[in-house]
């Protein structure tokens, strides 16, 4: 119940005035977060001019263990300290003159790895720099190429070596520089590091007498016991028009806008530091919940990528052309500047050359999207909070009453007994198992929240156990770190420790998690970690983890480890047979292997709706295929117009969930009048009908790392018009969706990429590619198009949830291209287990050519012994772009005839018959067959 609190009407006016005046102050608290200027390592590094620091040179280049190894020798020149920072001046000492160890290794598929660390044999302190384990795939070493030859002409000051066919790596000796370039007469560079002499590496050293390493920010003091240890360098993407990636940042722009240089007002670098930012802005380079230090570039001639495996705070500048020399012409490359507070250089260059190649190369390091259960791909209904079992039952019934499908009902923090996770509020949720079973009876699941902060309450078994076992992260003095979060005083399990992760995973067993059932899945929130009374609302950087690793070294990966441990918990719970579903807010490179993420606490306004598309697209480009934004916007009350538009767009997010803050009005899809209910139902229905297509795309993502929701240029890499289009996106290779981001918009200009025609899925009208089309905006949905030459599998029968759709027949929508041909795929498995890994799946390719549609098995023969079988048939085939005249088709085998007639594109009251439709071919999806049009 709302806490008693009133205002007299007389003061109401003033109160409203105050709300108006302070609502902006109430939102994002800029002062609480550090700017680059307030972050000494960033300020120091950013203040340097190109080539202003003493250069490093390369010595003792050799081949060792199939890789290039060398020493990186700092020149003894006196540092030209250009800024006024005291600790920078202190860097000027012998410690920083020790040579560093450099290693270059090459991995299958066009990947060059660069490692630079201190030489332990000459170290002056016992502290070792942290190298983040557990992110790179364990089998990566098996894919390393054994270099057997270095090419180093005697008169030349460089060493070159093989990277991939057509690409070589070049190590320039003095000054030190790394270039990846194409082999051949042109020898065009693709990527380079330290081309602008900004490489710097603060080596660990003993503290000098009287030196103070402490750093203060607001009321917090960071002891910094190991002193300055930052690393910075420049990376250039040659032949690039734009760079993308390094999520998570909110922006309406798809590409990364320059942060420094000509034409850029004073701005901040892109910050990678996982933070729980209250009411984050829709357009800001500041860090929010997750970090993936992977940037990719795209241009007409090439695509490339760069990934720095480092979980410390990172700041990245994208430099506008002319940043180093205003007189220089546009060089056709994009320079970037990378700074990190700690760790080592463990960086990867991806040579492309196509954009999908870059994504595959990145995926071969950090893994692909875990294949989700089918239900997770459907619609999720969440709110902070569904209050009690009665409320849950009412919402569940509401969906049935309005014939709106949904698959998962979510419970936020209030379901627990005093924010003690793994427990239930006994008054509100006296019978959690029964509640879950009631949902399960309709094929629906439940998700409960489990956060990393554990209430410091001696009667709470989890706290007691974690305390006794010493499983908590420690503060700088070695005591259990005590921070403040939802339950009040809390501690945080040290997820870096594999033993503690195992312990955590056990907590999800049915026995340990009392009240859980097999239809219950998990949501990890606040795992940045969010600490309400910590510096920048997170954990102090000098907190200590397993192996004396400082929190600063690992911060961005804390949430990743927590997500990992939770997903493993669900995996264990189901004896390794049930695919986990865990949604996490914090993430790092590799999080895709453990589940889905969402874009956190967004706001119910049109700007956030717009920003959600570039955000989800950039997540997809950096491996996180399974993501989405809260439909409706978390904070605030969307009006019906915004909510409807959000459903219409959100239905295409890979992760599709409605969610709301507890101060907002209820917004279940039937609360906005019948007309709006119908619009939202329709939006959700579209997602359900496309589930076979989405599931097939998830399969692709899980195999190759190509995202589900794609920027247009990923499919049309040669079409420059698409490079910075953050308003429209592709769902897989076949569908293009354009968002509507303004209230009462009457018409919209949609750019359709070149090289293909497009069919408007509202009316079947064919439109040319390579042009912008001005279209009337309909309230019925956002504009969507099917690319000519593709086949999309759908299921057009509607059910309560995806569970009941399993045996329903398919509809194939064939959009023919100019040569009356099309292709598409369908992947089907049991939707829940890991049997698909043993071959238990159906994978078909549909090919339409020469008036004949064929279904071909593309499941490789060595996929495994297990088979998946289904009696599902195709009930309808819709042909777009077929010249008129066809009346019958013959189905083989069986040689039976079936009718072709005009039918609607979607089975909705009032829809007009506009497309040739093959009626009831009734061929089985599992079989080989062909259908010939007569």
């Amino acid at each position: 119940m709302g806490s008693p609190d009133r205002r007299s009407p007389a003061s109401l006016l003033l109160f409203l005035l105050f709300v108006l005046v302070f609502s902006s102050a109430d939102a994002w608290k800029k002062d609480e977060f550090r700017s680059c200027r307030q972050t000494p390592f960033c300020k120091r590094a950013r203040g340097r001019a190109p080539h202003s620091i003493p250069p490093f040179s390369v010595a003792e280049v050799s081949l060792s263990d199939g890789a290039v190894s060398a020493r990186l020798v700092p020149s003894p020149a006196i540092y030209q300290v250009t800024d006024d920072d005291a600790s920078a001046a202190a860097d000027d000492n012998d410690d920083n003159l020790r040579p560093l160890l450099l290693r270059l290794s090459v991995y299958h598929g066009g990947i060059l790895r660069l490692e630079i660390d201190e030489d332990p044999s000459s170290a002056s302190t016992p502290k070792r720099r942290f190298r983040l384990p557990d992110v790179l795939l364990p089998d990566l070493e098996d894919r390393r190429l054994w270099l057997s030859r270095l090419s180093s002409p005697s008169d030349a000051d460089f060493t070159s070596f093989y990277v991939a066919d057509g690409f070589e790596g070049v190590l320039l000796h003095s000054p030190f520089e790394i270039v990846v370039r194409r082999v051949g007469s042109a020898a065009e560079p693709v990527l380079s590091l330290n081309s602008h002499g900004l490489f710097d590496f603060e080596q660990l050293r003993a503290k000098k007498e009287g030196e103070n390493w402490e750093e203060s920010f607001r009321s917090h003091t960071d002891a910094r016991p190991n002193g300055p240890q930052s690393i910075s360098f420049d990376v250039s993407f040659h032949g690039a028009n734009f760079v993308y990636g390094i999520p998570e940042h909110a922006s309406p722009s798809l590409s990364l806008r320059p942060t420094r240089g000509p034409g850029v007002d004073e701005s901040e670098p892109y910050r990678l530091f996982n933070l729980d930012v209250f009411e984050y802005l829709h357009d800001s380079p500041f860090g929010i919940y997750g970090s993936i230090p992977f940037m990719l570039s795209h241009g007409a001639s090439s695509s490339s990528g760069f990934f720095w495996l480092n979980a410390a705070e990172m700041q990245i500048d994208v430099l506008a052309p002319g940043w180093d020399d205003p007189a220089a012409p546009d060089t056709g490359r994009i320079d970037t500047f990378w700074m990190s507070e700690a760790g080592v250089v463990d960086a990867f260059f991806f040579v492309g050359p196509g954009p999908k190649d870059v994504l595959k190369q990145y995926a071969s390091l950090t893994g692909t999207q875990a294949m989700p259960q089918e239900f997770a791909v459907a619609y999720h209904q969440c709110r902070w909070n569904y209050r009690d079992e009665e409320d849950v039952a009412a919402v569940n019934a509401g969906f049935d009453e309005h014939d709106i499908p949904y698959d998962v009902l979510w419970l936020d923090i209030e379901h627990t007994d005093g924010k003690r996770y793994f427990t239930w509020d006994k008054v509100l949720f006296p019978n959690p198992e029964e509640m879950q079973k009631k949902l399960a009876a309709k094929g629906r699941r439940m998700v409960t929240i489990v956060d990393p902060h554990i209430k410091r309450d001696d009667s709470f078994h989890l706290h007691k156990e974690a305390t006794e076992k010493g499983f908590y992260v420690k503060d700088e003095s070695g005591k259990d770190y005590d921070g403040w979060c939802w339950p009040g005083s809390s501690s945080y399990p040290d997820m870096l420790n594999p033993e503690i992760r195992e312990w955590w995973a056990e907590k999800f067993s049915y026995k340990n998690y009392v009240g859980s059932t097999s239809s219950l899945y998990i949501w990890n929130d606040m795992n940045e970690p969010s600490v309400f009374n910590g510096p920048e609302v997170t954990m102090p950087r000098d907190a200590l983890h397993y192996g004396d690793v400082e929190h600063r070294e690992l911060h961005n990966a804390y949430g990743y480890y927590f997500h990992m441990a939770t997903a493993n918990g669900l995996l264990k719970r189901g004896d390794g047979k049930d695919r986990p579903f865990v949604l996490s807010r914090a993430f790092f490179a590799g999080s895709q292997r453990y589940g889905a993420i969402w874009t956190g606490d967004n706001s119910a306004d049109w700007d956030h709706l717009r920003a959600s598309v570039p955000m989800v697209l950039n997540l997809g480009l950096t491996g996180m295929s399974f993501s989405g934004a809260d439909v409706g916007g978390f904070f605030g009350n969307p009006d019906a117009d915004l909510l409807v538009r959000w459903y219409q767009l959100g239905a295409y997010y890979p992760f599709f969930r409605g969610h709301a803050h507890h101060d907002t009005k209820r917004r279940e899809p039937w609360l906005f009048g019948e007309h709006n209910t119908a619009l939202m139902r329709e939006a959700i229905h579209i997602r359900y009908s496309l589930l076979p297509y989405y599931y097939t795309l998830f399969r692709e993502a899980s195999v190759s790392g190509i995202p589900i929701m794609r920027p247009l240029w990923l499919e049309f890499p040669a079409d420059k018009e698409t490079y910075d289009n953050g308003e429209a996106f592709m769902v897989g290779p076949s569908l293009l969706v354009q968002g509507i981001y303004e209230k009462n918009q009457k018409s919209i200009s949609v750019y359709l990429p070149s090289g293909s025609s497009w069919f408007n899925l509202r009316n079947g009208v064919k439109l040319d590619g390579g042009a912008s089309h001005k279209l009337d905006v309909s309230e019925d949905g956002v504009p969507s198009f099917q690319r000519a030459g593709t086949i999309v599998p759908r299921k057009d029968r509607f059910r309560r949830s995806s569970t009941q759709m399993v045996n329903d027949p398919y509809t194939l929508v064939i959009a023919l291209n100019g040569s009356l041909a099309a292709e598409g795929e369908l992947y089907v498995d049991d939707g829940k287990s890991y049997e698909f890994e043993k071959g238990a799946y159906i994978h078909r390719r549909f090919i339409f050519a020469d008036g004949k549609l064929e279904s071909i098995d593309i499941r490789p023969p060595n996929a495994g012994n297990k088979k998946f079988s289904t009696d599902c048939t195709v009930e309808r085939i819709i042909l777009l772009g077929l010249p008129s005249g066809a009346e019958k088709a013959v189905v083989e085998p069986g040689n039976h005839e079936t009718n072709i007639e005009l039918g609607p594109l979607t089975l909705r009251s009032g829809s007009k018959p506009i497309a040739f439709t093959i009626r009831k071919p009734n061929v089985r999806i599992a079989d080989d067959w062909s259908i010939r049009i007569l």
């Binding site: 709302g2 403040w484 009374n533």
Partner: protein, 614 residues
């Protein structure tokens, strides 16, 4: 699923067979999911989609392929997303379900007819379910029957009460007219007397003045410099005003008196209310100040808070900082956590006390808006406050005006013969008296006879006080009668009723036509002020309650349903600060609803399969 795979359980087959004996042209498969009244529609060989979009053949009826986008051709399968499936549910009530439920593995119809392809085993549970449903409906019917009788009485009573009040109002208005005339006469008389008196006084004063003029002039300077520091400013002002405005003093005084009288007429409290009023008096003084104070201070306090959070969180303990940051998401004030130091507990108590003041002052202002004079009143009130005036009259001035029932009774006690039956009425008496006085008074006698003049004044005071009481009663009554009490005035008795419900630590109090509150201990939260009936008198809406922190104004919707007792139940807050409750009352036991229930029961009884099927 091809049609060849359609498996129709034998039972349904048989059932359909008997049932459609008259329509032998339709096969059981074709008949699936069609309501009996619709069967005729499907008889011809070529059938139209109901939305007129297309035609289809009988072979296409229920052939697992959607031909009509509106679902006409597939009533018995899941092929059309917009289709509807009819289950007969013999033994229970027939049901129409969404096509999306057909053969989805979940039993939806109690007769199991929605699951015929064998993917789910759905036993026929209609008989038991129907029995239970029939029992339930029978009970409901019984309640409605009994409730209906109570309702009739209630409506009768309400009609009478309404008529009575209306009659009273009419009568009062007539009386008001007469009394107004009398008061006017008395006033004229009084003014003439006063004028005569005033003239006499001025004459005397002139003489006196002449005599003392010189004396005063010489002393004045010294006197003022000696005395003023000791006097409070008001005193000085008073003296000055008296000195300069002596001429109109008398007039002013009587005006004040008149006004006081008028107000005391507005609310005539019984003893019980008086004590309360004394409290209210104290409180309301504070409250009006607190509210003024707060309206300035709360936001700026909060603003400081905000500023602090971005500037001086330095000063906060780790715990306070944690709470502060958490409060952004939760919207809870940081002081209201569970584990608090004693000091902050005290602060909380204090704050709650202040909170208690809010609704009072809110109410006051609310009622203020009813009376145009009120703004002035309030200023006066504040002035009085500063003068530290505590006489009884003053206290009476500030009675909350919402004790209308009391004032009604009091009105009667003050006018013992105010009822139509009382003859001769007080009005006749007063008319007689006034007549006598006016006749007896001799204007031409100077100086004015003091006893006569005071008699006139007293009579005037008395009559005008009666008039204001009368007028206040009129306004109370017309205020009441203005409301919408339903088509048959059936909710008339609700006007003077409040309904209570206790849930956990809260007591909910719903006073129709007035307000609804949530009481926790000593603190009262207003959930809303009366707005209107909603959903054709099936719900009462209260809106514009106390504002939620970071949220909307509280509101309450009370759904009404038939019950034998007036009972408030199921208070709930499904969305933050939007409350709902259920009030059972015989008033909602409606004839139509009873008929509907009886018809439903009849249908259910009819569809019992025992005699006509199988």
């Amino acid at each position: 699923m091809g049609t060849h795979r359609l498996k129709v359980p034998l039972a349904i087959f048989c059932l359909c067979f008997f049932w459609i004996a008259g329509f032998a042209s339709l096969s059981p498969r074709e008949l699936l999911g069609i309501a009996p009244q619709d069967v005729g529609y499907y008889k011809s060989d070529v059938i139209k989609c109901k939305d007129g979009s297309k035609k289809f053949t009988k072979q296409q009826l229920n052939d697992e392929f959607c031909d009509c986008p509106d679902g006409t051709d597939e009533p018995g399968t899941s092929a059309c997303p917009e289709g509807k499936f009819y289950c007969r549910n013999a033994g229970h009530i027939p049901q129409t379900i969404f096509s999306s439920r057909v053969n989805d593995g979940v039993c939806d119809c109690c007769d199991g007819s929605d699951e015929y392809n064998g993917s789910a085993n759905c036993p026929n549970t209609c008989w038991e379910a129907g029995k239970a449903a029939r029992e339930k409906i029978k009970k409901k019917i019984a309640t409605h029957q009994e409730g209906l009788l109570m309702r009739k009485q209630e409506v009768e009573k309400a009609k009478q009460a309404f008529a009575k009040d209306e009659a009273e109002l009419l009568k009062l208005k007539n009386e008001e007219k007469i009394l107004k005339g009398l008061v006017e006469k008395l006033r004229e008389h009084k003014e003439r007397i006063e004028k005569a008196e005033e003239e006499e006084r001025l004459r005397k004063e002139k003489e006196e003045k002449k005599r003392r003029d010189a004396e005063i002039k010489s002393n004045e300077l010294n006197k003022s410099s000696e005395e003023s520091p000791q006097d409070d400013t008001e005193g000085t002002q008073d003296t000055l005003e008296k000195a300069s405005q002596g001429k109109i003093e008398v007039v002013q005084e009587s005006a004040v008196q008149l006004e006081n009288e008028y107000k005391s007429g507005t609310e005539i409290p019984d003893d019980h209310t008086v004590t309360q009023i004394t409290n209210d008096h104290g409180d309301s003084i504070t409250s009006s100040h607190v509210s003024d104070h707060k309206s300035d201070e709360v936001p700026s306090d909060y603003a400081t808070d905000q500023a602090q959070s971005s500037e001086t969180t330095e000063g906060l303990s780790k715990e306070e900082l944690g709470r502060l940051v958490a409060s952004r998401w939760t919207g809870e004030q940081t002081e209201q956590g569970e584990e608090q130091t004693k000091e902050s507990d005290d602060a909380k108590e204090e704050e709650q006390e202040h909170n208690i003041d809010f609704p009072e002052s809110a109410e006051e202002e609310n009622y203020d808006s009813y009376n145009s004079e009120n703004d002035d009143d309030r200023h006066k009130y504040d002035d009085d406050d500063f003068e530290d005036e505590t006489d009884e009259e003053y206290q009476e001035d500030h009675v909350e005006p919402d004790v209308s029932t009391h004032s009604g009774e009091d009105f009667k006690s003050d006018f013992p013969d105010a009822t139509p039956s009382g003859r001769p009425s007080w009005l006749d008496k007063i008319q007689q008296t006034v007549q006598n006085i006016i006749q007896a008074f001799n204007f031409f006698k100077t100086p004015v006879d003091i006893s006569e003049s005071s008699r006139v004044k007293n009579e005037y005071d008395d009559a005008s006080s009666k008039l204001s009481k009368l007028q206040s009663r009129i306004s109370t009554l017309s205020e009441k009668l203005k409301h919408d009490f339903g088509k048959e005035k059936e909710f008339y008795s609700f006007y003077d009723h409040c309904f209570e419900n206790k849930k956990n630590k809260y007591t909910y109090k719903v006073c129709p036509f007035k307000k609804a509150t949530q009481v926790e201990g000593h603190s009262t939260t207003q959930l809303g002020r009366w707005e209107k009936f909603d959903e054709s008198y099936r719900a009462m809406q209260f809106a514009n309650g106390d504002r939620c922190w970071n949220g909307p104004d509280r509101s309450l919707k009370v759904r009404l349903r038939c019950g034998l007792k007036d009972e408030l139940a199921d208070v709930d807050e499904p969305s933050r600060c939007e409350y709902v409750a259920i009030l059972s009352t015989p008033i909602l036991c409606l004839e139509e609803k009873l008929k509907e229930l009886q018809e439903k029961l009849e249908d259910m009884n009819k569809s019992q399969p025992s005699h006509d099927e199988l």
